[in-house]
């Protein structure tokens, strides 16, 4: 019985969201507001249980002095509400943004930049003409795309031509990516239809 009620509710809400395909209407609005409200409530509880309680409260109760630093930073965030102490709220924001920027710099450099440069050290004399053409296209594609993202010069003449080639390479990759993702979205839709006709209406 609880499963039937749950499935019926989920099925009706799915149809309410699908009704947007016709036009914006009161049923869609209801589902939208319900979704936003439920998500807000859920996330408050989720953040309390998974972040605030284990990472701060439990440690404070256990006497971990270091945890007073994030507590102080969290309290400083609320100084925005004070008419004269708003500047204090910039400290925790600055600390968080600065720390993450430093961490991400190394991560991107190692995980993206160096890995991609390494992957593009390719030979065009491999013994297989298919691989040679493939490697040549990859090298030209990478170089021309880099030219497109070069902002220190006007894209005119030879630079303009290379940059144009770069944008063609980008568009081809976008096209492939678009098709791939549309297929993934179709599988999501199929999953939802399976729920409606199978789990809920038992027609499958």
């Amino acid at each position: 019985m609880p499963e039937l009620v749950g499935n019926t509710l989920a099925g009706l809400l799915t149809l309410a969201i699908f009704s947007f395909l016709y036009k914006d209407n009161v049923v869609y609005k209801f589902a939208e507001h319900l979704f936003v409200g439920l998500a807000a409530g859920y996330y408050v509880a989720f953040q309390y249980r998974t972040v605030f309680q284990p990472n701060l409260w439990d440690r404070l109760v256990a006497g971990d002095i270091v945890s007073f630093i994030p507590l102080a930073l969290a309290i400083l965030l609320f100084t925005r509400m004070l008419p004269s102490g708003q500047w204090l709220s910039r400290w925790p924001m600055g600390a968080m943004i600065g720390a993450y920027a430093g961490l991400q710099l190394i991560g991107f450099l190692q995980g993206d930049l160096i890995a991609q440069v390494q992957a593009n050290i390719l030979s065009v004399n491999t013994g297989s003409w298919v691989t040679n053409v493939n490697n040549f296209l990859l090298i030209v594609g990478v170089l021309t795309t880099l030219v497109y993202f070069f902002f220190s010069t006007e894209h005119k003449g030879a630079v303009g031509a290379l940059s144009k080639a770069g944008i063609y390479f980008l568009m081809i990759s976008f096209g492939a990516s678009y098709g791939f993702t549309v297929m993934a979205r179709m599988s999501l839709l199929i999953g939802r239809l399976e729920f409606l006709f199978g789990d809920w209406l038992h027609l499958l």
């Binding site: 609005k29 939208e32 996330y43 924001m93 943004i97 030979s123 902002f151 220190s152 993702t181």
Partner: protein, 385 residues
């Protein structure tokens, strides 16, 4: 009745046999002992136990000659030579090395004894200040930061640093102008990532320029947010934009709206804003994920001018398809530098450009070398351990 028996005198032949068997027993024992001793010493050829290099002192490296070692190698560890021994790992002899680390691993500064197939050696893990396996990473980072510092300095001293114009920029002013003419608001979505994401930070720089434009035209600006932490940042950015053009009273804090942390709840709510408040210009500039197409499609159906920009390459195809202008990848970062002209952003952009130039030259040289059969020399330059 028990009689005292006098032992019979041993015959010369039986005494000889006894002496012979005693000698042979001794020889056998000594031989076996020697064999055992030899086999224990030679069980793991080339065995070395030492501190694992280039780490923070929480690992010990056990190495041996993988080709000469037997079928299996048992690595045991103890805190004193007398034991008790704890089994750490049984490996095939060909493995040639074992790094004792992680759960139950050694502690920094403490001496440990390792018994490897019976042979005992000791080592003490110590921390190193410099990871030699990452020197190349340091040099690349130093070069990149050095270039940024040079251009930052030039920008700060007022030097002229050229940045080419980006197509979407003209459109931004045009879109805001159109919204003003129609008396409709401008919607600015700075992505759904948190304030620590670099795209959100750059998006704030663009938001500041947009806020100045809308303040000048006295147009309403709506900024929906998916992360609570971005709210104070966005509020301050927009407020400072209004203040910079001398219109602080036009700023409406209610229009900077935190909607939901949940991705699709946020998307549904932004869709609702697009459908009901009908903004004439939608600006999607920041870090977007699966919601990008839903947002851009809904905006398209409302007839708004749409300008998007993100460095999340998987979402770019959707923006390219459904928006009027799209800033691709780094164009998005360049936009903030172009609009704000802040030395920090301009210097970073120019430094990045020079780094790209270095990479292009490296790639061309490496491709030529690889074609001539010398790719490994270049690849090894980029190996990070």
């Amino acid at each position: 009745m028990i009689k005292n028996r006098t032992p019979l005198p041993a015959s010369p032949s039986s005494a000889k046999r006894l002496a012979l068997s005693a000698c042979s027993g001794l020889v056998l024992f000594l031989g076996l002992a020697a064999l055992l001793a030899t086999s224990a010493a030679a069980a793991v050829p080339g065995l070395v136990v030492r501190d694992n290099p280039d780490d923070r002192g929480e690992a010990i490296l056990v190495e041996w000659d993988g080709e000469a070692a037997g079928d299996s190698v048992r690595v045991e560890r103890a805190e004193s030579e007398a034991g008790p021994w704890v089994m750490r790992r049984a490996l095939p002899g060909s493995a040639a090395r074992f790094v004792d680390q992680g759960e139950g691993g050694p502690e920094r500064g403490k001496t440990y004894f390792y018994r490897v197939n019976g042979q005992v050696l000791s080592a003490t893990p110590t921390a190193q200040w410099w990871n030699k396996g990452r020197t190349n990473l340091f040099l690349i980072l130093a070069l990149y930061l050095g270039l940024i510092m040079v251009f930052l300095n030039i920008a700060r001293k007022g030097g002229s640093l050229f940045i080419r114009k980006i197509a979407g920029l003209d459109a931004m002013e045009e879109a805001i102008g159109r919204a003003t003419e129609m008396g409709k608001p401008v919607l600015y979505v700075p992505g759904i990532d948190d304030a620590n994401n670099i795209q959100t930070i750059y998006s704030m720089a663009i938001l500041n320029s947009v806020a100045k434009m809308v303040a000048q035209y006295d147009t309403e600006l709506i900024v929906p947010l998916a992360k609570a932490f971005v709210l104070p940042l966005a509020e301050e950015t927009v407020r400072s934009g209004y203040m910079d053009v001398g219109r602080p009273d036009s700023f409406r804090a209610d229009n900077i709206r935190f909607l939901s942390d949940e991705q699709f709840a946020f998307t549904a709510a932004v869709n609702g804003i697009m459908l009901r408040e009908k903004p004439a210009a939608n600006l999607f500039l920041g870090s977007f994920f699966a919601e990008s197409l839903v947002l851009a499609e809904t905006g398209f159906t409302t007839g708004a001018i749409q300008i998007a920009g993100t460095a999340n390459i998987h979402q770019l195809p959707f923006f390219v398809v459904a928006c009027d202008y799209t800033m691709i990848g780094e164009e998005f970062f360049a936009t903030s530098a172009y609009l704000s002209r802040e030395p920090m952003l301009v210097g970073t952009l120019k430094g990045g450009d020079m780094m790209k130039l270095v990479i292009m030259v490296f790639l061309v040289v490496a491709a030529i070398a690889a074609t001539m059969g010398h790719s490994e020399a270049f690849r090894s330059l980029l190996v990070i351990r």
